[in-house]
């Protein structure tokens, strides 16, 4: 399969990391696409939890928001949001949590709060949402972010959620922290020090291109892998999902008002 985008490569790479039966705490956007692609291909019994309260969701189209009606209608059940955070995430029942952010540092700490000082930010970002507790309590965290030196930085403006920060083991965090950072230029994994290094390359994207996109001095893991290009089956499933999604979201909204 020669003709695919870098977004498609990222999505497929992330999807392949999910195993059948895996319990995923899913965010909107690429994580949702990756999880549903996995569910529609090699992992039919993947369990999707959206923080809005849907458990075991099996949408036929991708949601645009974290709480679309499609998620509720196809869920095994819908529970109150506080239950999701206390009885599922905090209780250690989530195998994989997905996170993205505006900034990441070499230890996988993330910033989605502010650029500039907190009290008077240059750019106010949306904020934490579920991130601090996903980062702490999911058994593994998969980070998905497009790489650029502005995002992959040596020092965060604000630490919204924790990666392999010093003292993690005594912090009360129950999960293992970020296991991988899936980018559009390759896949980073933490080394013994907790620092993320290039662990796998995509076809046709040399390590130098990855290095140029990462703000810290990116190390190369011993024996880096090369990821296979998306298969025809994967691409077809992903594109069909996206086409169904686009069609569904074109349907006009009918309001019960004259």
């Amino acid at each position: 399969m020669s003709d695919y985008s870098r977004d498609e490569m990222m999505t497929v790479a992330a999807a392949r990391m999910l195993w059948n039966g895996c319990v995923c705490f899913v965010g909107i956007g690429l994580p949702s696409a990756a999880c549903n692609l996995a569910r529609l291909t090699h992992a039919p019994d993947l369990v999707l939890i959206y923080e809005s309260g849907t458990i075991g969701t099996r949408p036929t189209v991708l949601p645009l928001s974290i709480g679309d009606g499609e998620l509720a209608e196809t869920a095994a059940c819908v529970v109150p949001l506080p239950d999701i955070f206390s009885d599922y995430l905090q209780a250690g029942r989530v195998d994989v949590g997905f996170l993205g952010a505006a900034q990441i540092d070499r230890l996988g700490n993330l910033n989605s709060t502010v650029i500039g000082p907190y009290a008077k930010p240059r750019t106010r970002l949306p904020g934490a949402g579920g991130a601090p507790e996903i980062a702490a309590h999911a058994k593994q965290v998969f980070i998905v972010m497009k790489a650029s030196p502005r995002s992959f930085v040596t020092a965060l403006d604000f630490q919204t959620s924790g990666g392999h920060f010093e003292g993690r083991s005594k912090s009360g965090a129950r999960g293992g922290g970020p296991a991988v950072v899936v980018t559009d230029v390759g896949i980073l994994k933490p080394q013994a020090s907790g620092e993320f290094a290039l662990a796998a390359a995509y076809p046709g994207i040399p390590a130098d291109e990855a290095r140029a996109a990462i703000g810290w001095k990116l190390a190369i893991a011993p024996q880096p892998e090369t990821i296979a290009a998306p298969t025809a089956v994967e691409l077809a499933a992903l594109r069909a999902l996206q086409a169904r999604t686009a069609a569904a979201h074109r349907e006009p909204v009918r309001l019960p008002i004259q």
């Binding site: 645009l64 009290a119 019960p256």
Partner: protein, 283 residues
């Protein structure tokens, strides 16, 4: 006794300037019509509380109705920034906005504590984050059994919580179906609860294990079809994703935002007129 009355009266009687107000609904059943009515009536100095401020708080903040915001994620879901929220925080426009910022888990614990009338909520949270360094409301206590340290948040007990729901009956019982986010907790945490509904029926059937807010926790019910638009009501109408996208453009510019609010919200008498005004503009 639950009052059943027009939305404008419910807001006029029960939401004074300076009140702490939670308009809850996680993506689903966001009480937009009630938020617009707060704007129409020119409320000021509100302490707005909501996990995900969404467009409705972008509007309230942009209109200068808010003094303080308690929240955990302030974006336009799947689209990007809330430009009015950003403008208030970054540039104090139209007025400065105090921030009481949490994680979702923290807000959920705070609402739950409020619902139970406990003074604080407890969670194993705020780990590896700078939030506690900037929010003195986030504290720690030690477990009296294991000695381990846990995070606490003060209970949220809004003066008024406003929800939107599918149905109420004439007694004031309210039935909700679908994604409920922290609506139940926010409702039970309130000192006064207002619910706008798609439909008022004579009697609701027994809900068995469904979500029902019994009439004695509901202060006022207002009939307001499409009251969640551009959010949605499960089983009634879908989310208007297109409007969420368009809002990005409307809200990006102070002038365009103000003109839109003046024309469609301040310039209309009620939610029906608001929807009709938007339809005329689109035609």
């Amino acid at each position: 006794m639950t009052e059943i009355l027009p939305l404008s009266e419910a807001i006029a009687r029960h939401v004074p300037d300076g009140a702490s107000v939670a308009l809850e609904g996680f993506t689903h059943l966001i009480p937009f019509a009630a938020g617009h009515e707060l704007i129409r009536q020119g409320r000021r100095d509100l302490h707005l509380i909501r996990m995900t401020p969404d467009l409705i708080y972008d509007q309230l903040i942009g209109m200068g109705a808010a003094r303080r915001l308690t929240f955990s994620w302030g974006g336009n879901p799947g689209v990007g920034s809330l430009h009015r929220l950003r403008d208030a925080v970054e540039k104090d426009w139209p007025r400065p906005l105090e921030i009481d910022e949490h994680s979702h888990a923290g807000m959920a614990a705070a609402y739950r504590a409020g619902a139970a009338r406990l003074p604080f909520g407890l969670l194993r949270g705020y780990i590896g984050t700078d939030l506690p360094a900037h929010n003195p409301n986030i504290r720690r206590i030690h477990c009296p059994y294991t000695g381990e340290e846990l995070a606490t948040v003060p209970a949220l007990n809004p003066d008024v919580t406003i929800l939107h729901a599918q149905r109420a009956d004439r007694h004031g019982n309210v039935a909700i179906e679908g994604i409920i986010g922290a609506q139940r907790e926010a409702a039970l945490a309130a000192r006064f609860l207002i619910v706008t509904v798609e439909e008022i029926v004579n009697e609701l059937p027994p809900a068995m294990n469904g979500v029902l807010l019994p009439h004695f926790v509901v202060g006022a019910v207002s009939h307001c079809p499409a009251g969640a638009w551009p959010s949605y009501a499960q089983g009634r109408y879908a989310r208007d994703n297109d409007f969420y996208l368009r809002w990005d453009d409307i809200a990006r510019d102070r002038g365009r935002f103000s003109e839109w609010m003046r024309r469609h919200v301040q310039g209309t008498a009620d939610h029906r007129a608001f929807i009709q005004s938007l339809r005329r503009a689109a035609a």
